[in-house]
Amino acid sequence: MDKLLSGRRVLVVEDEMLVLIMIEDMLADLGCTSVTSAATVDKALALTNAQVFDAAILDINLNGHDSHPVAEALSARGVPFVYSTGNTDHGSRNGYSGRPVLKKPFKFEELVAILTRFKLAPVER
């Protein structure tokens, strides 16, 4: 039986290597075999412009830099994404524009719930 992310391409923008590895494993458990990652705003933007993604997980703070430009690029391309953040009060600063948020550390089940709500269109074969 197909899993939630079978055949999906997911972009993970995350600057902590151990957190990235865990997210990759979580996504792999959901059937995702194509995970692309970026640790910086520049690389994330380059990837967003060059490739097609079905969904993305976006860390708000990339080594002190706000990942907002990446959020804009993803929105412009209609890629559904979820923010992840270690900040506790970020919402009050610039809001999440209605996007779902995973507060680190987050549970596998929380990620699954959010990805399920994305209601991704069937994979074309």
């Binding site: 151990l18 590895i21 865990m22 640790a39 680190k104 550390p105």
Partner: protein, 372 residues
Amino acid sequence: MIQEKVRATVSTTCNQIDRPWHVGNNEKVCQQKVAEAEVESFRKDLGPFVVAAETTRMAMVFTDATKPDNPIIFANDSFLSLSGYDREEVLGKNFNFLIAHGADAEALTRIKSEFEGSSGSGAEVLCRREDGGEFWTDVFISPVRDEGGDIVQYFASFVDLTKHKEDEAQSKMLIDELNHRVKNTLSTVQSIVWQTLRSPSDPKVVRESIESRLFALSRSHDLLTREKWESAGLLDIVHDALEPFGVSGGRADRIAVKGENIRFPPKSALALGIAFNELATNAVKYGAFSNAAGSILIEWTMETTPTGQRLLLNWEEKDGPPVTPPAHKGFGSRVIERGLAHELEGTIHLDYRPDGLVCTMDIPLLRGTRDG
């Protein structure tokens, strides 16, 4: 009474010098003269107290409560140095001219209630300096009454809050940063637990590998704390990561470390510390440290390329048991090849040569990471 007299005198003078085509300007000059004269009368009235007010380090002004716009009639030197204005620019002006954003209704209300004596605790106000700069100050206002109990003047003192506000902002930033760091560290720990539990092992092995990784994190934190979380040198990162593996103990003569103490920012230092811990753990389990003869050479150089400086590092094991590539990529090799390469935006390669593991790192150095 003296003031009344002075005012009358000055008014007469003003009328004499009045010119119809310069009414506005002359009115101003006139007001100023009135104010200056009032300060003089003030000086006569209060004697030593005026000297005290003039020389104290606390910024203060007096205003004339009998005039509708409550003009400033006295300003001491501390006030002038705090605000940057000359005395002539201040005297005769409405008290509110100091407010940085004149339209700031809230600030005006705070000052009004301070004048009315209803705040009792002073008003925090953002003021404008002569040069356009702004400063926060606590304003305390008390009325000065005449014999009949009528308010004739207001006395206002200012406590400069600039330093306090800076400290406040700084500590808020530090707390935010600390919170962020704690949450990220907790995520990192979650990842370590998650990863370690993915490969089926007996509880003792699981506990030991979780501990080994947590202690590696902890040692990197210690190193960065000693360096005030500014940066850490590569020699120190390597040394501290290998400490539990006997770099300065039993295996000291089997480890050679050669390279400059290139500085890395905290996040990169943490990542490198974790990676070296994984390499050393692997060496103890399967590599050069799993027998009595093996040794490890860790060597690095810096190379200048058109895109900037790069670190070229070699971790070379020899004289250990014959090496065979692992059937599955474990946590260690993923952290090194995938994780570290990702976080430092470099290329890391693990080469399982039969005569010993070789790990090569090619990592871009950000500007300023090198030790002067």
